[in-house]
């Protein structure tokens, strides 16, 4: 028992580990709540697109000497809005348009990055640097997370109706355009908030896995939000500790744990798991 306690307290003797843990929990929570909507709305690829599109935003913000988060936010939002615009004015389907826009923006970011050679590591943008998180970063992420979480939790019923039945939402007078853009803004904010922890590549997993796991496990949306949050926060905490002892990359460890939980859910989910389906088909 005392040994276990030591296992848990030892990493926490380091201030950078404390900050990493807090960061991982914050990011895990906001991504978890948002991922429920992304999975239900079928917007997983949108998460992918927006996260890649923040790269040119960051680089340009560096050149203009404005806060990188603002650049990242504008880059991400631009990608989402541009996708909608092209979709409304061409015959292409959304996934094709997104593929072009986000890879184009990502490529632009890379080209400018190598030209400008900013002080920020490309690795840190791509994969995060959770162990290097400073107090100021925590504040920034904390404020963005609180704002996004607040918006989503308070308006979750309308957001859910929007995802479920847009035509009905429209019929009863909900501002569906506004809800649509509010979701995109919240998505961009969530990604910006997660950047320092897991980077633009790995944030996609944080934005999809918890919601996907919860979706496999329940038929109620309120439970889905809860399960998703527990899974994400649990993975974050476990990931921070495990990575400390394995000397592994923290962001990647968190995502590996989430992936592992997803596999478990896929196999053992009470109604939709493949094991259960096997049993049912054998009995019938």
């Amino acid at each position: 028992m005392a040994e276990l306690f030591e296992y848990l307290t030892e990493p926490m003797q380091y201030a950078f580990m404390q900050r990493a843990l807090l960061m991982a929990i914050l990011v895990g929570l906001v991504c978890a709540v948002f991922s429920c909507f992304l999975v239900l709305k079928g917007w997983s690829l949108m998460g992918d697109a927006v996260s890649h599109a923040v790269l040119p935003g960051i680089v340009i913000a560096y050149i203009l000497a404005i806060p990188l988060s603002i650049g990242a936010f504008i880059g991400g939002l631009f990608c989402a809005v541009a996708t909608g615009y092209v979709k409304d004015n061409s015959r292409l389907k959304e996934d094709a348009i997104m593929g072009i826009i986000f890879s184009g923006m990502f490529a632009l970011g890379l080209v400018i990055y190598l030209k400008v050679q900013p002080e920020i590591h490309l690795d840190h943008i791509l994969f995060g640097n959770i162990l290097g998180v400073q107090a100021a970063d925590l504040w920034e992420t904390g404020i963005i997370c609180a704002a996004t979480l607040g918006l989503i939790v308070v308006r979750r019923h309308d957001l859910l109706l929007y995802c479920f039945d847009q035509a009905y939402a429209r019929a009863i007078g909900l501002p569906v355009k506004l809800i649509h853009y509010a979701l995109l803004v919240a998505l961009s904010l969530t990604i910006v908030a997660s950047l320092k922890a897991v980077g633009v590549i790995l944030v996609i997993a944080m934005l999809i896995a918890p919601g996907a796991i919860a979706y496999l496990l329940t038929n109620r949306f309120s439970h889905m939000l809860l399960i998703s949050s527990v899974v994400a926060v649990g993975s974050s905490v476990a990931g921070v500790f495990v990575s400390f002892y394995l000397d592994a990359d923290t962001g990647a460890t968190i995502i590996l744990i989430q992936t592992f939980i997803f596999i478990l859910a896929f196999l053992f989910a009470p109604t939709s798991g493949i094991l259960r389906k096997k049993i049912v088909s054998q009995n019938s």
């Binding site: 308006r155 019923h157 995802c163 039945d165 019929a171 009863i172 007078g173």
Partner: protein, 310 residues
């Protein structure tokens, strides 16, 4: 008749809808409906039915003309929470993690504060609506666990809980068995008698005279609109569907050996009817041209059937 703050009415004034890709889906379309009506909206796929629905709900803006609901412009009317919509089964994600009662509660959103926390009257309204459609015992089921007819009734209950006055229904009878079809019709008639206005897009031609007092015939513009008795004629159906309708005419000489020259006509939209006369299957006009007609038995009767399940 129930008391409504706004007297339900629907007016479509000479609208033309052109999409961004340049396609004009409907042009110069006009018709109007008043309270206490069930109106069928009839037309082939691609005739502009969904575009008409979209313009009534403000999803698309007509390039010409206007739509008025209870005397108000569309967006104003939608904000009053008087318009309701029952989606087509194909448009619903049946795996969505919501229970029957959750869906019906969505109908109460317009009556709640912005946090959407249900009050006692909201819960009562949900309970009453579920009872009205006979789905009380299923209220805790996930929506995907229901049969086709039950699914329809849940969405109808949502419109009832909403106290919607102008209700748009998209194909309410697809995937529904005959019993449920009758139950839904009864419910719709009840809602009509309460003074509501319902516009029903349907392929189910045979049921229209049974429950729709008005009919709108659409083929990219309004071909005819008015009382079903006046509008729902073979000539109009011919015009609306062009050559698309499946016709089946069983001539007097095939039915009996007297001089009565009247014939039995079966007209259907998407599915081909199975027509039996005696124990012999009858072939439709097109098929008959290429093969010799069957000689039916003398003491036979005619049955038509539509494949219900999709």
């Amino acid at each position: 008749m129930a008391k409504f703050i706004y007297n339900p009415s629907l007016e479509v004034n000479d609208i033309t809808v052109t999409y961004n890709n340049g396609h004009t889906a409907i042009y110069d379309a006009s018709f109007s409906l008043s309270a206490g009506t069930i109106c069928a909206l009839v037309g082939v796929n691609g005739s502009g039915k969904s575009t008409l629905f979209k313009s009534i709900m403000g999803f698309v803006k007509p390039v010409k003309g206007s739509v008025t609901l209870s005397g108000m412009p569309v967006l104003t009317a939608l904000k009053q929470n008087i318009v309701s919509y029952v989606p087509q089964a194909e448009d619903v994600d049946w795996n969505f993690p919501v229970l029957v009662e959750d869906v019906v509660m969505m109908g109460r959103f317009g009556h709640m504060n912005f946090m959407r926390i249900p009050k006692k009257k909201d819960k009562l309204a949900v309970r009453d609506a579920l009872e009205k459609v006979g789905m009380t015992e299923y209220s805790r089921r996930q929506i995907g666990e229901l049969s086709g007819g039950q699914k329809k009734r849940v969405f109808l209950a949502r419109s009832i809980a909403q106290e919607g006055q102008i209700i748009l229904l998209d194909e309410p009878f697809t995937g529904v068995d005959v019993q449920t079809e009758l139950a839904i019709m009864k419910l719709l008639k009840q809602m009509r008698d309460e003074g509501r206005l319902m516009l029903v897009a349907t392929h189910n031609l045979g049921s229209i005279p049974d429950f729709c007092d008005h009919t709108v015939m659409l083929n990219r513009t309004i071909l005819d609109a008015g009382k079903t008795a006046d509008v729902f004629t073979p000539e109009n159906l011919e015009k609306t569907f062009g050559g698309v309708l499946r016709h089946f005419t069983l001539g007097g000489d095939e039915l009996h050996d007297d001089d009565d020259t009247r014939s039995v006509r079966v007209i259907t939209d998407d599915e081909r009817p199975l027509v039996l006369y005696g124990n012999k299957t009858q072939k439709s006009a097109a098929a008959k041209k290429s093969s010799t007609a069957n000689k039916p038995d003398a003491d036979a009767k005619i049955t038509t059937s539509k494949a219900e399940a999709k």
